[in-house]
Structure formats: structure tokens, C-alpha cells
């Protein structure tokens, strides 16, 4: 039995303060890069194209429900999202946000295709119970005022985040396992190349580096890509046992998604947002505190407040303008709004591409934090040893 206990995952505890930072980052990424979904476009759709997944809520319906249904879902979703952002009844609104999104997307995916953005949607469902609303929120302020602060149990927090890590790892594993049993490991087969061809010709995904890779005829390279994908996806589930190892897999996954984006032009943003939970928020927070520029800004509260107020006001104006456009499939991201203002085409693609670039920057920054931490530990160890030697002498 002891041997089995050794396989239990490490502690995945993240202080609620850092989870709350992540909550703000989650909302900011959604608003700045991705945009919130609007389910209203489904209301007037053709029921002849209706083909919902057999095991879904939408299967209980014979066609798309009316416009008022989707308007209600969209409004609940929007209100919940802003509830999360400001931290008002965070736990309840987080659950409502996930549920309303799932209901909306059940119909969205009733054209015969399911997109895999679930991780992005279920983040609030998990983290609501790990304390992501305990700081930087109206809830926290209210509790402080009433002197009724309550802390999430450390053990419970760790358990929730571990379950979330297992969910990510399992999702990756399902993809890897399928590859494994359908011939990806066979030396002669060039699976990545095959799928690149299919995407290039059948789906016209021919942008970025697709053409460059298509012209590459180097078996060893293609095979190394096949095997790397297999190791990453299948190995993810094992990596959960050790938190540090899981961190390495998450870092590798960011590079993996970036490559998929460059080669296949597939924007798999959902995972990138979910991975950010495992960013080293503690070190980041310390760096922010010691940053001279930010400290100077902090000294000038009035300026910061006016900046925030102006941004919020601009955002609300842009948002109200978008709300009037009910036929849109989603409320555009802020980057999209800015690009549209200057009539720049393919604004959504650019916005998502910037998210990918951003995630790569975060990855490099994380590596820098990790290395400086490693250096610091080595120096401290040397210093302790030096002191010990000195005492011995």
C-alpha cells in the first residue's frame, strides 16, 4: 500500500492571493485577446442543420430554441463573467459562468462539430472553490469590512488544483493515446506530415509556416515530431505525480501549441489560459513589488486611478456599442475593436496570434524566474556550506 501512496500527487497548493491574481489575468486575457461568446446568433438558425452531440443537453431539443433563450443565456454569461472580474459573489458567479457557457456551447456545437475549448470554460468551476475570489475582489472588501474573513483550507485548495491538473493531463492523454493506437509510433509513418497535408489541402490552413514545413522532406525530423507529440501527450498524466515535472510538461505544452499554431494554423487557446494557473505567481509577485517603475506608479495613486477609470469608461462604451450588435457570434476582444477601428483585416486572427506571442513571452519569463531561483538556491547552499566549513576551522 505504501508503494501506491508514493504515487499520490505532490501538493499543488497555490495561495489564494496568487489565484486571485490569476483570476484577474483570466478575465483580462478573455477581454483583451479572446472576446466573450454571444450565443444570440444561434436563435435564428436553420434547424435543418441541427445535429447535436448524442450525449448533450442540446440532444433533448429538436432544433435551436428561440432567440429569447439564447439572449437569456448570453446575458447570464456576461453578468457572471463581470461578477468574476469584480469578485462579486465570486463562487456563485464562477459556477454560473461555467454552466451558462456549457449550455450555450451545447447548441453552438450542434452543427456536427465539437470544438475543444472546455478547459478555458471550466477553470472558474474549479478555482472558485480554491479561493480565487479571496483577494482583489469586492467579496474580500466586504468580508474585511464585516471582519468575517474566511480562509480556504490549504489541503482543500491543493486537492482542487490537483484535480484541475489531472483534468488537463487527462485531456492531453486522450489525444496521445489515440495517436498511439493508430500508428503514430510506427517508424515508417510520418503522421504529423500526413495531417499537415490534410489540413493544408482540405481545410486550406496554409498560412504562417505551413508551406515551409510542407516542403520539408526529412524523415528523421518528421519522426521526431511524431514521437515528441506522443511523449508529451501520453506522459502528461504521469507527470501529475510530481508538481515540478508537471511544470516542465506545461512549459513543453506551450511550445507544442505554438508549433501547432505555426504549422497547422490551429489556435488552441483554451489550454494556454488554463496553463497559466501553474505560472510562478509568487516569484512574479515579488518581482513586481521590487520593480522601481511600478513602485513609482504606486506612489502616484491619483494618476493610476485616473488611468484605470479612463480605461474602464472606454471599455464600457465599446461594450455597449457591441451589445447592440446581436447577430455577432461573440463580443470582440479589445484588440479586435482597436484593429477594426483602423480597418485592419483579420483582426480576430491577429488578436489570437498576439495571445500566442504573449504566451511565449510568459514562458521565457517563467524560465528566467526559474533560473534565477535556481541560482539563488545554489548560492544559498554554497553560503551555508562555507559557513559550516568556517565553523569547523
Amino acid at each position: 500500500m505504501n508503494y501506491i501512496y508514493k504515487l499520490l500527487p505532490d501538493s499543488y497548493y497555490i495561495h489564494p492571493k496568487y489565484l486571485s491574481m490569476y483570476r484577474l489575468a483570466y478575465c483580462a486575457i478573455t477581454l483583451i485577446f479572446i472576446g466573450l461568446p454571444a450565443f444570440t446568433w444561434l436563435g435564428d438558425n436553420l434547424s435543418y442543420l441541427y445535429s447535436p452531440p448524442r450525449y448533450s443537453l442540446a440532444y433533448f431539443f429538436s432544433g435551436f430554441p428561440g432567440s429569447s433563450f439564447f439572449l437569456t443565456i448570453t446575458l447570464i454569461n456576461l453578468i457572471s463573467f463581470f461578477g468574476i472580474l469584480w469578485g462579486v459573489r465570486t463562487r456563485i458567479v464562477s459556477v454560473t459562468y461555467t454552466l451558462s457557457s456549457i449550455v450555450g456551447y451545447s447548441f453552438w456545437y450542434s452543427f456536427g462539430k465539437i470544438d475543444h475549448n472546455l478547459l478555458w470554460l471550466i477553470v472558474p468551476l474549479f478555482l472558485a472553490f480554491a479561493g480565487w475570489g479571496d483577494y482583489y475582489s469586492i467579496d474580500a472588501r466586504t468580508r474585511r469590512a464585516k471582519n468575517t474573513e474566511k480562509k480556504v483550507d490549504e489541503d482543500f485548495n491543493s486537492m482542487i488544483i490537483t484535480l484541475f491538473a489531472i483534468t488537463i493531463a487527462f485531456s492531453m492523454f486522450t489525444a496521445g493515446f489515440q495517436k498511439l493506437i493508430t500508428g503514430w509510433a510506427i517508424w515508417e509513418a510520418e503522421a504529423v506530415k500526413g495531417h499537415l497535408f490534410e489540413n493544408y489541402y482540405a481545410l486550406k490552413r496554409d498560412k504562417l509556416l505551413a508551406n515551409f514545413f510542407l516542403n520539408m522532406d526529412f524523415h528523421l525530423l518528421w519522426k521526431s515530431m511524431d514521437y515528441s507529440a506522443l511523449i508529451l501527450e501520453v506522459g502528461f498524466i504521469i507527470s501529475v505525480i510530481r508538481r515540478q515535472l508537471f511544470g516542465y510538461f506545461v512549459a513543453a505544452a506551450v511550445i507544442f501549441h505554438l508549433l501547432v499554431f505555426l504549422m497547422f494554423n490551429i489556435v488552441f487557446i483554451s489550454n494556454l489560459v488554463a496553463y497559466l494557473v501553474f505560472f510562478d505567481w509568487e516569484s512574479f509577485s515579488k518581482q513586481v513589488k521590487s520593480n522601481q517603475f511600478l513602485n513609482r506608479l504606486r506612489g502616484n495613486i491619483a494618476f493610476v486611478k485616473s488611468l484605470i477609470f479612463t480605461s474602464v469608461a472606454l471599455f464600457v462604451i465599446a461594450f455597449i456599442y457591441q451589445l447592440s450588435n446581436y447577430t455577432a457570434i461573440r463580443f470582440p476582444s479589445l484588440i479586435e475593436v482597436a484593429l477594426n477601428f483602423f480597418n485592419i483585416p483579420e483582426s480576430y486572427q491577429i488578436s489570437l496570434s498576439l495571445l500566442f506571442i504573449g504566451s511565449f513571452v510568459v514562458l521565457v519569463y517563467s524560465a528566467k524566474l526559474y533560473l534565477s531561483k535556481l541560482n539563488k538556491n545554489t548560492t544559498t547552499k554554497r553560503f551555508v556550506r562555507f559557513n559550516e566549513l568556517e565553523n569547523q576551522i
Partner: protein
């Protein structure tokens, strides 16, 4: 820390639920919500030869001419290019069910109205009697960068517009 046994039970049960979810998706049909990621499963059996699924939509005029339908045919209702192939598959599936006659099926009648409207915009001077959907798998040779003559799973579906 919670007792190891309790943790084992919690994580074990959670993994079991996820595995059941995966089994349902594999054996029956993918549910929603689904944690199953796109697998890109399958690897080509012959090196340098890949099969690509192709679908094309044509409109057949009353004078039996066949004209290509604009790529944006469904875009007004389904604004995703990635959804085109699934939508075509859904249409073919629905057409194969005999009771979907426009005379008795209001959903089909609405679709036909939509199709006529779209075709009118693309070809204002033509009259159409049906839509023709062609589905097939074409083989590509990656060395020569050409489509080989072999075409498999060729299927034609007509949707009457009258």
C-alpha cells in the same frame, strides 16, 4: 494533509469518472461537455501518400448546367470555415432519411428557402432545380506535390430545390 487513503480515493474516483467519459466517447459517441482532445489520429500507411477528404457543392440549373457554389454558402448561418465539412455531412445524413420531404418538413422548407436566396445572390439570372454535394477522398503524393488519379469513397447527393 488529508489521510493518504482519502486522497487516493478522491483522485482515484475522479480518474475513474474521466476514464468512463473517455470510454463513452470512444465506444458510443462524443458527449458534450467533452474533455477528449482532438487526436489527429491515424498515420498514413504508404509513406508520401496521403488521403484528403474533399467536399464540393454545385448548383444544378433547370437547363442541367452545373455551377460551383460560393464557399460562403453557409457562412451567413454558420460563420466558421471549420464547420463546413461537418455541416455538409449533416446535410447528407438528413437527406438520406426519406421522411425529410420539404412538403412535410418545415425545417427543410426553411433550408431550401435559404439555399435559393443564397443562389439568387450568386447567380441572379439563373433558375436552379437542385444542389449537388460531392464527397470523396483524394490521394496526394507529397514527393511530387500532385493529386493522384485515385479517388475513393466517391458519393453524390442531390437536394431538390423545388
Amino acid at each position: 494533509m488529508k489521510k493518504p487513503f482519502t486522497r487516493l480515493m478522491i483522485y482515484g474516483s475522479f480518474l475513474t469518472v474521466l476514464c468512463l467519459h473517455y470510454l463513452i466517447a470512444r465506444r458510443l459517441s462524443e458527449p458534450y461537455p467533452s474533455l477528449i482532445f482532438p487526436s489527429f489520429s491515424g498515420a498514413p500507411k504508404t509513406p508520401n501518400q496521403f488521403q484528403v477528404p474533399v467536399h464540393e457543392i454545385f448548383a444544378v440549373t433547370t437547363t442541367k448546367d452545373t455551377l460551383p457554389v460560393d464557399k460562403d454558402f453557409f457562412r451567413k448561418k454558420v460563420p466558421y470555415v471549420e464547420y463546413e465539412i461537418p455541416v455538409v455531412k449533416t446535410l447528407v445524413k438528413k437527406e438520406s432519411i426519406s421522411y425529410n420531404n420539404s412538403a412535410v418538413d418545415p425545417d427543410k422548407a426553411r433550408f431550401i428557402e435559404y439555399a435559393k436566396e443564397q443562389l439568387k445572390q450568386q447567380y441572379p439570372d439563373k433558375n436552379f432545380e437542385s444542389l449537388l454535394i460531392i464527397q470523396e477522398r483524394r490521394t496526394y503524393n507529397t514527393d511530387k506535390k500532385i493529386t493522384l488519379a485515385s479517388v475513393t469513397d466517391h458519393k453524390k447527393t442531390f437536394i431538390q430545390l423545388r
